[in-house]
Symmetry: C2
Subunit: 447 residues, 2 copies
């Protein structure tokens, strides 16, 4: 019997604030970071890797929370842990004392995501298949048993969930074969960070078009005149038919969002992303009514399935952008996909950050194969950052994710990257501590 | 000039799980805890004390988060920090990297509450008045400047907020004089924890009536037959005219909540508290429609002002139970009180825990004096636990909080209590670590 012998959690931070990669109207100086979980077993060939994503300070809080979340796994048999992934999730999630700190939100939920992502990675590695395939080989009942449906029965019953999955089960193989040819469509955010110059914006938009992308996303919300200038450049480069998305990263109140987005309507954006507080279901619904036909997209800060349930019930979203490192891993994500299907909302997962692209490629493939059965209105985020740190990086060609084929959830990082960017004692940060630039001092000071 | 020289944050845990105090259908074994903040200045006679409340494991996460949240205060002049409490709040709250872990929810927000509670305590001590009086002496404009109105303008504008406060400003003194005579009405939850026997329940209900309470609250939701039996006992003891409240602590899905509460309707509860997920605005609204005239109460897990805004917009609550250690201190609480006033929802703050009664007495007094001007439908929670650890414990007589008169927010704990219950190295826990009962081991193991 293979047993889990330990779980290590590491604070890994990349100094992305140096280059203004990832800059937007709310998040001006992120150092993209991961609370990285490594489940160690007594079989040297079997481990599980997972993480949650943060933007710097506070990553240590997620690390410590994940360490505590993972304690119940230590000493248990792998077969038992991965044999009932719903039970494993509920066991970790239901700690009644940690629950007080949420429930199901903030640091303790990010930590649950990190740990359960590693458990799902372990399960897929044990089966010798990529995560999307592990899921695609589960029956409707097995998938629903793994899903967290608590608090959802007024929107989706267990029977409805099984029926949704059963409808597409007989034809899963043909959609897998199709995606093996085409990949899963994606769009790029790499072009449009706020901190970039007009020249860099123009060049990156052109590069995106040349690389086969049909969707380009720009950050907005800091200054209306600048937004108009930048959107003019982008629309000019990508042409009238490609999709242009805009992302405000929560900077507006509801009335301001309506006014600002309507001022950008001449550029015909496909969606406005995160127009206001991510918690504001009714606000998103009001904005959506007021800015149509521009769509409303949100979800990267969507804290849990109960928030998404209400977003769907209130008709607040045109596009659901669930986050693979914020929701409670596949268990909670399954519930959101099933609700999205019932309510007819396409899921376009949030990605970027550290390793989020690696994770969401599996989710999008699974969605098409087993839940939605449709690519209409669906496009998954892709940001060309930090993939070099992953052992099995995602591969994007001609505006599409190629199907990942290595066993697992693609979450494993290179040991050399961990050594270098471990905070605060990795080679990079130990060196940075002796230097003087202010952002480094502030990162160091947070310890 | 007086300067803040350091901020210490201490992990304090009380072994309340031993006595089943605080047991309910969701929280079976809480060890009531505080992440306790002490703002130290170079004036030995001036300090600030505050905390957030948790139920055990994870309190260390709040401690570390509060330590990080408080870093920007160190080295600053007290006069500047307390001279613009809105600016101080926004400065601490807006850390763009920590924000990713919320925003405004979970561990980082609990930590903000702990730190800003200490800042408000510091401000009131510097002024030599109790917190409620500090607030009652602020002009409508000053109060609104301190309030966090971000994301609320679709429900409450700055102008509306000022108008609400201006209406009652001329008559504040007469309501203060009134409360100095009567105190602020409260109800007791001490009688109804799930872990208590029928005999203890009967005795405690009788004691509550004898002590002058006109409201008694019972925990429900674990077993319907037992709930019926316990409510029968309680109603028999308190009589038909006293108010009986029930509290499910989030155990139900929406349809189940409706069915269960209606089954308890014969006992004529005044409210059902936390019938489902605290995040479920639309769920609470649906339950409220289906169980009327039984009221719906929620808020102790209400994560932030955006959630409360929606609760009011959706008509989801009959009673708003905001929490003084979960919302971002007085800054965010002011916003919720102002919205509650506009939407006509009485605020009956959550208390109990560690020191929450000490805090909320100030808030309730301020609400009556300056915001609502009404006691109708208002009653503040009181639980007779752990007050002995506070330097200025709240005083309840004849079912009412006496007005606290000592300078500050009543948040300071006795040094001897801190020494004894500091986790894990206080005298109590260091002794417990050498013993063998399982709950102690599990608490210790969480480190």
């Amino acid at each position: 019997m293979t047993t889990i012998t330990s779980v290590s959690v590491t604070d890994i931070r990349f100094p992305t604030s140096l280059s203004m990669d990832g800059s937007d109207a709310m998040n001006k100086d992120g150092d993209y970071s991961a609370a990285y979980v490594h489940i160690v077993t007594d079989d040297p060939d079997l481990a599980g890797f997972g993480f949650t994503f943060t933007i710097g300070r506070g990553n240590d809080l997620c690390v410590e929370a994940a360490r505590q979340r993972a304690l119940p796994l230590i000493g248990r048999e792998v077969a038992e842990v991965i044999g009932d992934l719903g039970a494993t999730y509920r066991d970790l999630q239901s700690d009644s004392q940690l629950r007080w700190l949420g429930p199901d939100k903030g640091v303790i939920h990010l930590a649950l995501a990190a740990v359960m992502n590693a458990v799902w990675d372990l399960a897929a590695r044990a089966a010798g298949v990529p995560l999307w395939q592990l899921l695609a080989e589960m029956s409707p009942e097995q998938l629903v048993d793994a899903a967290d449906l608590r608090y959802l029965s007024d929107a989706l019953t267990r029977e409805e969930a099984i029926a949704i999955l059963a409808e597409l089960a007989p034809t899963r193989q043909q959609r897998i074969a199709e995606l093996q040819g085409t990949g899963y469509p994606c769009y790029t955010t790499s072009a449009g960070w706020l901190g970039y110059s007009d020249e860099k914006l123009r060049r990156l938009c052109q590069e995106a078009v040349d690389a086969g992308y049909r969707h380009v996303k720009l950050k907005v919300g800091a200054n209306l005149d600048e937004d108009i200038r930048r959107l003019s450049i982008a629309r000019e480069v990508i042409g009238p038919d490609a999709a242009l998305m805009i992302d405000a990263n929560q900077v507006w109140d509801v009335p301001q969002a309506i006014e600002w987005v309507n001022a950008l309507a001449p550029f015909a954006p496909l969606w406005i992303e995160e127009p206001t507080s991510p918690d504001d279901v009714l606000g998103h619904a009001a904005i959506r009514r007021a800015v149509a036909p521009i769509g409303v997209a949100s979800g990267e800060h969507g804290m849990n399935r109960v928030l998404f349930k209400q977003m769907f019930q209130a008709g607040a979203l045109d596009f659901c952008q669930l986050d693979s490192a914020r929701l409670g891993s596949v268990n909670e994500i399954l519930a959101v996909y099933l609700m999205a299907k019932k309510f007819g909302v396409p899921v376009c997962p949030h990605a970027g950050g550290v390793g989020l692209c690696e994770l969401v490629q599996h989710l999008s493939v699974f969605d098409y194969v087993a839940v939605s059965g449709s690519l209409e209105g669906r496009v998954t985020e892709y940001v060309d950052h930090l993939h070099e740190h992953f052992v099995e990086p995602c591969i994007v060609e001609a505006g599409a994710y190629r199907l990942p084929m290595a066993p697992g959830y693609s979450a494993e990082m290179h040991p050399a990257s961990i050594e270098r960017f471990r905070f605060p004692d990795g080679d990079y940060w130990a060196g940075a501590a002796s230097e003087s630039s202010s952002w480094r001092k502030s990162s160091i000071a947070s310890r």
